[in-house]
Amino acid sequence: MAHPAVMQTPANRELGSGVYNEKLGIWVFLGSEVMFFTALIGSYIILRFSNPGAFAAPNTVLNIPVTATNTFLLICSSVTMVKAFAAAHDNDMAKMKWYLLATTLIGASFVGVQIYEYTHLIHSGFLPSGLREGSHFAELATAGELGLGTPDAGVAGIYGSTFYTMTGFHGFHVTVGVICLTYVTTKAFRGKYAQTDHRGIEVIGLYWHFVDLVWIILFTIVYLI
């Protein structure tokens, strides 16, 4: 819509919060994201406490080294995101562009590793509905090697349900973030940001750090505990 005047604040008007609209808006929106993940994580906590035997021991079904590497990648992307913002702040536009590109690529590789992980898990029989009968994991479960409360493969259903829903929605958020980052990076390479106005970078940065923070919580409670 060709009304830039609407998007910006009239000169004679002071912003109530002292923070520009897009920044305040993303903080408010992240409030709702917190509640969304609270619904998923809260359900996970309740279901896990009420049925501890349905959850496999750490590092039996889920591969901790692979995901730990992925976690490290995502944290690195948060660092490059901050570096990009700091570069914009210091008017070092070349540095800003490359750090943005790095953030986008690392974010995309996180999604790639997660797709690899899902493919591998599904192939070995770990499904949202439980362990596939006759699969590799089902055999391990029957042999008592997954640390499940009972050797009954069906009982692990809730394990797969919570795992795929939580990590899947996180992955969806990362994907949305990568799409937005691609847009911001393209804009940056076209020279659309300046030291005086790089709001887009700060806003996507806030979202990106949020997604990173959620992953650190998910990695801890889903993979490590």
């Binding site: 609407v6 002071e14 929106f29």
Partner: protein, 587 residues
Amino acid sequence: MATTALPQEAAHAEAHELPFIRKYIFSTDHKIIGIQFLLMSLAFLGIGGFAAMLIRWQLGFPDVAIPGATILPETMAPGGYLLPEFYNSLVTMHGTLMVFFAVMPLLVGVFGNFLIPLKIGAPDMAFPRLNMWSFWIAVPAGVLMLSGFFVEGGAAGAGWTSYAPLSANSEYSGVFLGQQLWLLSLAVLGLSSILGATNYITTVVNLRAPGMTWFRLPLSIWALFITAILVLLAIPILSGAAIMLFFDQTIGTHFFDATGGGQPLLWQHLFWYFGHPEVYILILPGMGMVSDIIANGSRKPVFGYHSMVYALIAIAFLGWIVWGHHMFQSGMNPTLGMGFMISTMLIAVPSAIKTFNWMGTMWRGSIRFHVPMLHAITFVAMFVIGGLSGIFMASAPVDIFIHDTYFIVAHLHYVLFGGSLFAIFAAVTYWYPKMFGRMMDPFWGKVHWAITAVAFNVTFFPMHVLGAQGHMRRIYDPNQYEFLQPLQGTNTLITIGALVLFGAQFIFMGNFVISWFKGRKAPDNPWDDNGVEWTVHSPPPHLNFAETPVIYRAAYEYSSPLVEEDYLPQTRNLGSDSGPAAKPAAG
């Protein structure tokens, strides 16, 4: 109050002349988006009301074929008699449409959009394009919801609360795709609501005109602001729960399926953790707008303005810790029930503060009984009845007897229809001139009000009696129980009341449509109101204000001794005023 800068304003509006599709369809103007929400949600109000008529006919005249219903397919009403499965779908869709697609968008979508920028003196929302998306995401959600009626197995039939496992397993309810469409629709609508709430909160915080401090805000804006916070935090819980239930049905997860390690009760907890704040989403904006209208109709400042604000905040906060009162009979730990009972009853305190303040506002006022005022007073009266019956439900020992009976149906309609919908009628008739630039006809407005107020009570008051005698809700054929057979007369009376109530709404609809084209041209300030929106044209031009308004005083200075007229607009500088506070945020 005509503004001094008319020529400038006209030129301003002209400079932004847009093609039709940009101006009225994919508009970013908050006023147009508000009107779009109004038309959409009134349509859903009609559809939801029609569903209620079919339900009532089945209960009131079970032995008579519904007139004209033979056009419905065999899977719904063979020979004009509803099938039990279709009855379940109707009950579910009536509740869902009324809550999510009629009352909620009417209050939040329509008046949040229309009033917030105008009343705080802003040119538009903080994010006009996002605002457009909020509307155009809500439309496909509505289409998804209605499409349930046209798929195999019919529309969702597990009630608007969709309790698992009934909703989780299609073998139990006989509904296949319909339930999934229901869940998808709510998840999509949730996104629309969250984007809208983000916009409202940012706008109120950031874009208030100079001098519009927090405690100069009209109560309607306070209420919409607090409601937006509730929407922002409550709706994602529903989205999360809906997605989990959707996965249970589609990819075989076991969140709410006990055989796979899940917990059916978890759905109720998640649903009501969203659902109880939702109840206040459905009433708080009404309370705010009614406060504005009652002050205007009484020609007096709102009694206890600050306590009204704190009461809104208290209700919104308490709304988060009472969800268990919906679950006294669910098998939840009774010890928890005690806590939920006490926290629920605490809500009576801020609610009573508001009610007494409304009466204090009217007390010794020189009341103008214009149509919005009549609806506003009815709101207060009906809200008191609904609030008092709420105490019965909140009391766990009483709830054991009246849980899931018509008593709860009576209660929720007294607050949702008697409360919210009368507030909506008040607000629509009050701001109609500002929206469309024409007045609604006051005579037909009063006729509509009078029939609605009487027929409403004929319809819903006897439901208390039904409930107290054990008549369960959501029942297709109560006469299968011998002890309910003597209540058939009451059911017939209720149905007659409901038909009259539904019929009366055609008066409103006619008045609404005809006034749009033929109504008397509205002056800028037809109600002698103090609000900022009444200082500009009806309807206001694009971007609302030629110059940013400056606010000098509180929202409700009616009958002030400082001026001759009995109202004193917020933008009026009497010369003696020291001007706006240095920073709007300082309030």
